[in-house]
């Protein structure tokens, strides 16, 4: 992921979402609420209020930077790996499902690994893909990992080759430490 992409993605796109959200909620009852509360309230069960897009995109991008680290990639370990193997069969099967979700999210959106505290089938870990600004918070899940598949996330470096971008993300960028930390929090909250 080039420095050029980072300077636009963080410096322009993410910054715009923050600036525009602040302008949008100024003087409204959303001002002063936590970002998560603003997201859930403006999601409004799918009947989106105008501030949803900016609010959710602020959160999503914060989460995306946190999902990566320099020298990332490799495989998860410990409790996280155990749960991945339990719920997906193997790390390879999880990775395939995650890559497929990221590659097949049509239009703009995100792919996620998330924790479902109340699974009907006993599988707490799920892979999901969401359109535009939607994220697992609005479904009552805890996000563990995300990849941004809006075209602005990869177009300067990969043009239309989204699968190449996804591969590099998995091989060189994903921070399994961050994902493990989030899983610990999610399990503690669910207990």
């Amino acid at each position: 992921m080039s420095a050029n992409t980072m300077s636009y993605h963080w410096g322009k796109h993410h910054r715009s979402y923050v600036d525009n959200l602040n302008k949008q909620i100024l003087g409204t009852e959303l001002q002063g609420k936590s970002l998560e509360d603003v997201i859930v309230q403006t999601y409004n069960n799918g009947d989106l209020h105008p501030a949803f897009n900016n609010a959710a995109q602020v959160w999503n991008h914060d989460f995306f930077w946190d999902s990566m680290k320099p020298g990332g990639g490799g495989k998860p370990s410990g409790e996280l790996l155990k749960l991945i193997e339990r719920d997906f069969g193997s790390f390879e099967k999880f990775a395939e499902e995650f890559r497929a979700a990221a590659a097949t999210q049509f239009g703009s959106g995100w792919a996620w690994l998330a924790f479902n505290p109340r699974p009907s089938d006993g599988k707490e870990l799920v892979v999901l893909k969401t359109p535009n600004a939607v994220n697992p918070l609005v479904l009552g899940y805890t996000a563990l990992l995300t990849i941004d598949v809006w075209e602005h996330a990869y177009y300067l470096d990969y043009q239309n080759r989204r699968p190449d971008y996804i591969s590099i993300f998995m091989e060189k960028l994903v921070s399994w430490d961050a994902v493990s930390a989030k899983l610990e929090v999610a399990k503690a909250q669910a207990a």
Binding site: F106, G107, S108, E151
Partner: protein, 241 residues
């Protein structure tokens, strides 16, 4: 008209091999489908060079947009239609329903981009000139002025979140012009069965990012310099006869 490309020798060589491979794949698949009596769609040629719309839209974007993005919609549309035919033949209703989204994405992508290429022309071939005649008068009547119309298109295009299109459409029942947006590759008809697309502007990030980066409003401002009204006027006059 043959496919034309403006590129350096190095790019052309790389492009050539990739393009030949892609064309071979598409031709083989199309030949196989055609031998079964299935209609297949193909990538329309552009009536101008990739570099002909510069500086409003870069040659690099035009080439990727046409040869990669639009080609991909065509290829996947054909694939989905073939799978649909198979599903119908074996009475597999769930499979038929499941294929609808792939048909909408890819068929829509093919429809929308085919219109888009016709909505563009180099400046020396009339690109950028506002419409005259009945469509020009209709724009004044339905939007107040040409400037107001352009402003409305640009405002709606800028406000669209995620991927999609902004359209000038004709409501053929009421003979009124409308500005509408659609998400992703939804064709205009998904916003109203009576809506006929006249001008579509692609506001997916792939349409402008390499050149304009996050400055979508700048792209919208500049693309009017190469928007051509011949196709739109023909469609309008035909529907309003």
């Amino acid at each position: 008209m043959a496919l034309r490309a403006i590129a350096s020798r190095k790019t052309l060589a790389a492009l050539g091999s990739g393009l030949r491979a892609q064309a071979r794949l598409a031709t083989t698949a199309a030949a196989a489908a055609a031998s079964r009596g299935l209609v297949t769609f193909s990538l329309p040629d552009l009536p101008y060079d990739y570099g002909a719309l510069e500086p409003a839209v870069s040659a690099e974007i035009m080439q990727l947009h046409h040869q990669k993005h639009h080609q991909s919609y065509v290829t996947n549309y054909n694939k989905a239609l073939e799978q649909l035919e198979d599903a119908v033949a074996r009475d597999d209703a769930p499979a038929v329903v499941k294929l609808q989204s792939a048909i909408k994405f890819n068929g829509g992508g093919h429809i929308n981009h085919s219109i888009f290429w016709k909505n563009l022309a180099p400046i020396h071939e009339g690109g950028g000139e506002p419409p005259k005649g009945s469509l020009g008068w209709a724009i004044d009547a339905d939007f107040g002025s040409w400037e107001a119309f352009v402003q409305k298109m640009n405002a709606e295009g800028a406000a669209l979140q995620g991927s999609g299109w902004v359209w000038l459409g004709l409501d053929k029942e009421f003979k009124k012009l409308v500005v509408e947006t659609t998400a992703n590759q939804d064709p205009l008809v998904t916003k109203g069965a009576n809506l006929v697309p006249l001008i579509g502007i692609d506001v997916w990030e792939h349409a402008y990012y390499l050149q304009y980066k996050n400055a979508k409003p700048d792209y919208l401002k500049n693309i009017w310099k190469v928007i051509d009204w011949k196709y739109a006027s023909e469609v309008y006059e035909k529907e309003c006869r």
